[in-house]
């Protein structure tokens, strides 16, 4: 049986020391061993960016593609190879800026792909420009006076594209990261996983509010199916429904604590909008876990079904008949 270390390639890992990517790589290798993943039928496809070096470090099949196109490359691969276990590694620049179109289309088509979006809210490989998830006002190399772009909300985008699996996790919670990876792996369809990942060189501490021991408990809520959404230092706060939205109440006062149901799209949408900036006063905690999961046929399966239907209707392929067409004539 393969161990996590057996999924490591012989290449030196070249991320900056302290990068959050190391933890993600380690957890991925660990869950692959847990699944007893066959190396030959596991494929990692990436685009361009720090995160996209990922495939080089795994002893499976892999392709480091071009900027933004990993989901499109993976879609084509999946269309012809339903036997493979395909993972897409992308980032906030690769997946939400130059490659957003492909990401959303892959999600709506529901190709069976595990899409890991490493969100560090910065362009790392090009050395520190703001990304589509960098908070407004943030000063970066390309925004010395502060970012004026309104940032994307990745989970809301994924839900908007009718993704069938939408989750959020973080590099600094290995246990949770592994649980989400496992849930994604079991999902029959596109799984979109946003991973909060710290870039300690260009955007250090972007997610400290959610990862730091002192602030984490009050700023995060871990979603578990069938359980009330309890959080807080003393596990004394809970999410409740208020009018059309979600509010925070104390566990003591709450009449109807919200229970997490990943199949409830409306609730998932409300949870995805809990997106207050850590810098400003955080009124609401940020949800982590599987926000939403549903089932819809996968594109590649429907594609194969049509081929089967066509064979049933037209019979086995006959190349000579195809070349002759409907009308042909003899010249003597």
């Amino acid at each position: 049986m393969l161990k996590a270390v057996d999924y490591s390639s012989d290449q030196d890992v070249r991320w900056c020391p302290g990068c959050g990517d190391y933890s993600i790589l380690k957890q991925v290798q660990s869950v692959l061993a847990e699944f007893e993943a066959k190396r030959e039928s596991t494929v990692f496809i990436s685009g361009i960016g720090c995160s996209s070096r990922f495939p080089y470090y795994l002893n499976t099949y892999g392709m480091h593609g071009i900027h933004g196109r990993a989901t499109a490359i993976a879609s084509g691969l999946r269309a012809v190879r339903r036997d493979l276990d395909i993972w897409v590694i992308t980032g906030d620049g690769d997946g939400l800026s130059i490659g957003l179109g492909h990401l959303l289309h892959a999600l709506r088509r529901n190709f069976r792909l595990k899409i890991l979006l490493f969100n560090n809210e910065i362009y790392g490989l090009t050395k520190g420009q703001y990304s589509p998830t960098t908070p407004e006002g943030h000063r970066t190399k390309s925004s010395p006076m502060g970012v004026i772009d309104h940032p994307f909300n990745p989970l809301a985008l994924a839900l908007g594209a009718d993704a069938t699996f939408v989750a959020r996790t973080m590099d600094r919670d290995p246990l949770h990261l592994r649980d989400v990876l496992k849930a994604a792996h079991a999902h029959e369809g596109s799984a979109f996983i946003e991973v909060y990942q710290n870039c300690n060189v260009f955007n250090d501490g972007a997610f400290f509010a959610f990862t730091d021991k002192k602030t984490k408990a009050n700023n995060t809520v871990y979603l578990e199916a069938g359980k009330p959404m309890v959080f807080g230092e003393n596990n004394d706060k809970v999410l409740v429904k208020e009018h059309c939205g979600i509010a925070v109440d104390t566990l003591e006062n709450a009449q109807h604590p919200l229970v997490h149901n990943p199949g409830d799209l409306h609730q998932a949408m409300l949870l995805s909008r809990m997106f207050d900036l850590p810098e400003t006063e955080m009124e609401q905690p940020r949800p982590f876990g599987v926000l939403y999961q549903t089932h819809r046929p996968c594109y590649e399966d429907l594609m194969q079904q049509q081929i089967q239907q066509a064979v049933e209707k037209n019979g086995a392929p006959d190349l000579d008949a195809l070349l002759a067409g409907d009308t042909s004539w003899e010249v003597h």
Partner: protein
């Protein structure tokens, strides 16, 4: 009845023209099929507006279909036409210049109402049908075809407006009579298109007969023609359009290579018919993927190629521009990929429905870095099959993207095709790496510098590939200076090593005063010009490049026997520029960038100029 003997013709050209809702393309297509079944050679070309439904009755809404046919070999859809069928004033205004002096002009009088005349921008109180010059220049046959069709269909259910929709078949019946075609054959072709017993079937059959019978009643005034079968090589034939031939070749290659076919494409004129054609053939295991954009179209194909499919993407110039980075990725990954460019008028959106050959530079040089790939170009609609098949074979066997340069003229043109038997098609042998290949290295090369295709799912040869420069043999990332030069050389030499067929003299002697050297869809016009001038004793020959990069090995030798080399192109001299880099022999350009193909006369004129 005084039966006049029909006049024997060797060739003829007819242009059907009317509103884009008049069923012109269907009429032309039925006549073409009928012509093919008569055993004559033919070439057709549609001319439709860029707008789907341009305002009815306007010049911009005119749709045309031209067919050139004969008992001799036919190479082009013809220049001036012998007969013009115009369903309205706009169709007449737009196309009258194409009718030769003394040609037959058939018009539907209903299409020349006051409103029609206004829409065709004909000055008030004028009707071209009453114009003496027109009447004197052409054999005008004017009928109220619309009214006569309605009368012929009194027994058919439907509104008068529905009935007028069969007027194209009425006109077709008249043309069938005029060219001594069998009415039964015409009816059979209607039965192939419309469900027997349906209202449309009944209406079109009745209209066709009425038009045919009209001919018999006007025998006194109208001329009638007949034509022998052409001397085509014996065998079984069908009609094929260029885009259709591309699609058939891709399926054939996928079957012969035993690889599933994946076609990633984004809708674009004039390439979309390849997508349509392939999506009808799912029982061949064909997977068509209508991607969200041109970039996804090519990158999904790259993913499919990685997964072991015969991967193809098709588009036209603007789409190929968007695919540039993806093509470069396929070059550096060394994955097989066929890229079809059905060229149209450019730059930018340009002339979507018009033809041009101005993407050769894009094909040869349109990528960042040193990114060579084979460039092939079919010479005729039927050649689209052979060249696309060859492109697939090269792509797979040499692990490289290959560009096929078709164009709008080839894509929509049709010809009789002596189609091959599946068993006669060349074998295609993909260099697939087997399981547990000892010391497999993704970029180890064979004697032709071709690497092995390591396909995911194959145990024991797991590896990573990518768009970063890679170390020779291992494929690991490498920024080493010497290694980069080495890899650039390998990729260049690999393409240069691809064996391509020798260039042949297509027509004429191996030596002479002028060699007309063309590529792509100019083939037919060049052939006609060369035949005509040789009949006049001019020492001119034709050679046609189907393999542009790499060039055939005998290229320089073959052209050395001629004093002048004339290079006609529907661009500003792109092949010429490319060849000037390769050879020192002087070349004479002939440019035309009007969105329309060369007429053979234009080429004849250029050859005569050279010899002055």
């Amino acid at each position: 009845m005084n039966e006049k003997a029909p006049k024997l013709l060797e060739k003829a050209t007819i242009l059907f023209a009317g509103d884009s809702g008049d069923g012109i393309q269907l009429t032309g297509f039925q006549f073409s099929q009928n012509t093919a079944l008569e055993g004559q050679d033919l070439s057709t070309y549609p001319d439709f507006p860029a707008e789907i439904r341009a305002p009815i009755g306007t010049v911009s809404g005119v749709s045309g279909f031209r067919i050139n046919f004969g008992s001799q070999r036919i190479f082009t859809p013809g220049a001036l036409v012998d007969a013009l069928v115009a369903f309205n004033a706009a169709a007449l205004t737009k196309n009258i210049d194409q009718l030769r002096n003394g040609g037959i002009l058939i018009v539907d009088e209903s299409g020349f109402s006051k409103r029609n005349l206004t829409l065709a921008h004909i000055p008030e109180d004028q009707n071209p049908l009453d114009d003496e010059a027109l009447v004197n220049s052409y054999k005008l046959l004017r009928f109220d075809i619309t009214q006569m069709t309605k009368e012929a269909l009194v027994d058919v259910p439907g509104s008068p407006k529905d009935k007028t929709r069969s007027k194209n078949f009425f006109a077709l019946g008249l043309i069938y009579w005029m060219y001594s075609r069998s009415l039964q054959q015409g009816e059979k072709l209607i039965a192939e298109k419309f469900k027997a017993g349906s209202v449309a079937f009944d209406a079109n059959i009745k209209a066709l007969r009425a038009g045919y019978h009209l001919g018999e009643t006007i025998e006194e005034t109208a001329v009638r023609f007949r034509m022998d079968a052409a001397h085509l090589a014996p065998g079984r034939y069908r009609s094929v359009m260029g885009n259709q031939a591309v699609a058939l070749a891709l399926i054939a290659a996928s079957q012969k290579a035993n690889l599933p076919l994946f076609y990633g494409s984004y809708p674009i004129t004039p390439a979309s018919d390849i997508l349509h054609e392939l999506s009808k053939q799912k029982h061949f295991g064909v997977k068509t993927f209508q991607a969200e954009d041109e970039i996804a179209a090519i990158t999904s194909a790259i993913g499919a190629a990685y997964g072991g499919a015969l991967a193809v993407t098709g588009s036209s110039g603007p789409g190929i521009a968007l695919k540039g980075e993806g093509i470069g990725l396929a070059v550096i990954l060394e994955l097989p990929l066929v890229v079809i460019n059905v060229q149209r008028g450019g730059p930018s959106t340009g002339l979507p429905t018009k033809t041009e050959q101005a993407d050769l530079n894009q094909a040869l040089y349109g990528r960042n870095g040193e990114a060579p790939l084979p460039v092939l170009a079919p010479a005729s609609p039927t050649d689209c099959f052979d060249i696309t098949y060859a492109a697939a074979k090269i792509a797979v066997e040499h692990m490289t993207p290959v560009m096929v340069l078709s164009d709008g003229f080839l894509a929509n043109g049709s010809q009789p095709w002596k189609f091959p038997a599946a068993s006669d098609l060349p074998l295609i042998s993909p260099p697939v790496a087997s399981e547990h290949t000892e010391d497999y290295q993704p970029y180890r090369r064979d004697e032709n510098l071709v690497r092995k295709w390591g396909i995911p799912g194959t145990a024991g040869i797991e590896h990573r590939i990518g768009g970063l420069e890679k170390q020779d043999i291992t494929g690991n990332i490498s920024y080493d200076a010497e290694n980069h030069q080495k890899m650039v050389n390998f990729r260049q030499q690999k393409i240069a090593n691809i064996p391509v067929p020798d260039l042949a003299i297509e027509w004429g002697d191996p030596e002479g005063d002028v060699l007309v050297l063309g590529w792509g869809s100019t083939f037919g016009a060049i052939r006609e010009a060369v035949i005509n001038l040789r009949n006049d004793g001019v020492k001119v020959s034709q050679a046609h490049l189907r393999y542009i990069y790499p060039l055939p090995a005998n290229f320089e030798e073959l052209i050395s026997g001629f004093t002048h080399i004339l290079v006609p192109e529907m661009n500003m001299g792109q092949l010429l520029g490319y060849l000037r880099r390769e050879i020192s022999k002087p070349l004479t350009p002939l440019h035309k960038v009007k969105g329309v193909p060369f007429a053979s006369l234009e080429i004849e004129e250029a050859i005569r100029q050279l010899l002055k």
